[in-house]
Symmetry: C2
Subunit: 347 residues, 2 copies
DNA sequence: TTGTACGCGTTATCAT
DNA sequence: ATGATAACGCGTACAA
């Protein structure tokens, strides 16, 4: 493309034209109190007229060593994260706090797949990891930058973190709704590393993992145990992605299982909503024939018909806390947010 | 916070330590073919050992005059755009092409509200406006940068654009499904500037506007007219946001209208899905009592029960085209993507 | 309140 | 294949 575009006008040139020093131009933009209001106003309007739209970002960044950008590193691709209502709310929380502090939000996907060479992380002053990146190399790459880091929904020494008490949430939920049921099934999310909808094996059940899903699973199982009930491993399904298509496959398998489970514990509201839909379509009555619970507390779980029992987590607040911590330089603490069981029509 | 962090090691220092010139280090990272494989390998491993993780982004950007980032300017807040499946798919399309070209994706919200001072737009090489920014000032600010721009779903001279033939889609849809119905209602999206769910006035109907919603509305109306049918202005509702809460309010008003409309044309699938849900819950039979159509062709319209008639638009492809155009410097063309009517169970 | 001078870390160009 | 040099545009001491 032929771009005969003239180089943009610089601070120095503006200074020369206006007959002041470059420093004064710089101050007019960055240090208003360093010069008279009159001069400042004059300078700003002249700059506009001459087509100088403020300091060059690169030069400014180079000189100051700061960018004014905070980066949230997602655990997966952009589109996957965007289509997750929970992630959405979290990002909204982060954006709230950043806006209040005149900081911009930068997003980096956590699945390296075909990630660009140009490392965008160079343009951020600090990082919030929202979930462990699917490609662990991304974490290392960014940690090497030696910039402030907060992790959310997972831990990675020696960084500060914000977590949700998934175990306790799952435990309390199960205790609240287990009733007399013995036929319990679990519909998990990414319990194991596979792209298939399937049940997990006894060996896989024993794997030590601190992932969100594992903590929730442990909560379900322990609560059942404490009430002398058992959740057999052959009634634990897992889906690879939090999408209705996968949930639907899994739910159909669950409903086809004999004897049909009376209580279905789903690891996300999205899964639970799908379960409700599929069960209803299959002619089952909820909660008479099957009772279903979700996790997260998204809006739709409340407005759906029937409304879905769930464990509410403070997504927005999680974003607030993570961002505020990063901004305050409070980089050591590890906090855990409480959850709240919400009983609704599906149980 | 006391941060006794040592300044990071620079290219020049590395060069001195390794006994080569800075230029060679630079080449090792950016121009592999400019030096022997041996030396390059040696340099890279030494850099890693010494804690030099590649060129400083700011300095590189300053020197090259490029950032390697392409920015999509959304029409509204991040969270609003993320929760829109159509926007999601578009972004995925853009990201596809950018990744293939080793470019990063930057996102800027289009609602100024409390936008940061630090203008993130300085960090991008080019811009894709996805819908006219809600705050027009953002467009001007970015246009002033004099960098490549492509607009999507709207036009703004003299920039190139990618559009969808909304009028034709709405027209063909209406012709296909209008049948013998005379009681037609429209459920529009942001037809007028208001935050309320309401019907529009005859004066408002006449307003000349090129917005997506208006084009669709014109398509509905003209198709009806061409078949000697009329869509009275008092049966045209509008909602301010593409969220189920608002759609639900509007649908309830529509169903309460007497005589109850037999055909409901919705300007998004999200609205149509809500309409189906509300109508079913109200005990109506679909399509016997009321027929409902959406717009956009999102996945859920297909998988929902009953499946929803809609107008499919090529969201992903729209993203591909916009990004490719920007990269190719093809900044003048205006293209219009065709739509496709998909008839399903709700009609 | 305003100006001077220097360096931030890199890469393009040219020379070797 | 490698090295020397000169910008890129700005912000901050410090001096005036």
């Amino acid at each position: 493309m032929t771009k005969p575009r003239n180089r943009k006008i610089s601070q120095k040139e503006i200074a020369r034209i206006l007959g002041v020093s470059p420093a004064t131009i710089s101050n007019a933009f960055n240090q208003p109190h360093q010069l008279s209001a009159n001069l400042r106003e004059h300078i700003l309007s002249e700059c506009k007229r001459l087509g100088y739209h403020g300091p060059n970002a690169a030069a400014s960044m180079l000189r100051k060593g700061k960018t004014g950008n905070i980066c949230v590193v997602l655990s997966d691709s952009l589109s996957y994260s965007f289509s997750d209502p929970v992630a959405n709310l979290f990002l909204e929380g982060v954006a709230d706090i950043l806006a209040k502090n005149s900081l911009n939000l930068l997003l980096i996907p956590g699945n390296d797949a075909d990630s660009p060479q140009t490392n965008m992380e160079g343009f951020a002053d600090g990082f919030i990891f929202y979930g462990a990146p699917r490609d662990p190399e991304i974490f290392n790459r960014i940690a090497a930058l030696d910039k402030p880091i907060i992790t959310v929904d997972f831990d990675h020494e020696p960084y500060g973190s914000v977590n949700v008490d998934n175990y306790e949430g799952a435990y309390q939920l199960t205790r609240s709704i287990i009733g007399q049921d013995t036929d319990i099934a679990v519909l998990g999310l990414r319990l194991i590393e596979t792209d298939r909808v399937c049940r997990i094996t006894p060996e896989e059940l024993l794997s030590e993992s601190e992932s969100i899903s594992r903590r929730r699973l442990q909560g379900y199982i322990q609560a059942a145990r404490d009430l002398d009930r058992e959740i057999p491993v052959d009634r634990i399904w897992t889906i690879p992605f939090n999408f209705p298509q996968y949930a639907e496959m899994a739910v159909k398998e669950v409903l086809a299982y004999h004897p049909r489970p009376k209580l279905l514990l789903c690891m996300s509201d999205l899964i639970a909503l799908t379960a409700v839909r599929v069960a209803l379509r299959a002619g089952l009555k909820i909660p008479e024939d099957i009772r279903i619970a979700g996790f997260d507390g998204i809006t739709e779980a409340e407005t759906y018909h029937p409304s879905v029992t769930t464990v509410y987590q403070h997504c927005l607040e999680k974003g607030h806390i993570a961002a505020q911590r990063l901004i305050d330089g409070n980089l050591q603490d590890k906090s855990t947010l409480e959850t709240r069981v919400i009983l609704r029509e599906t149980t």
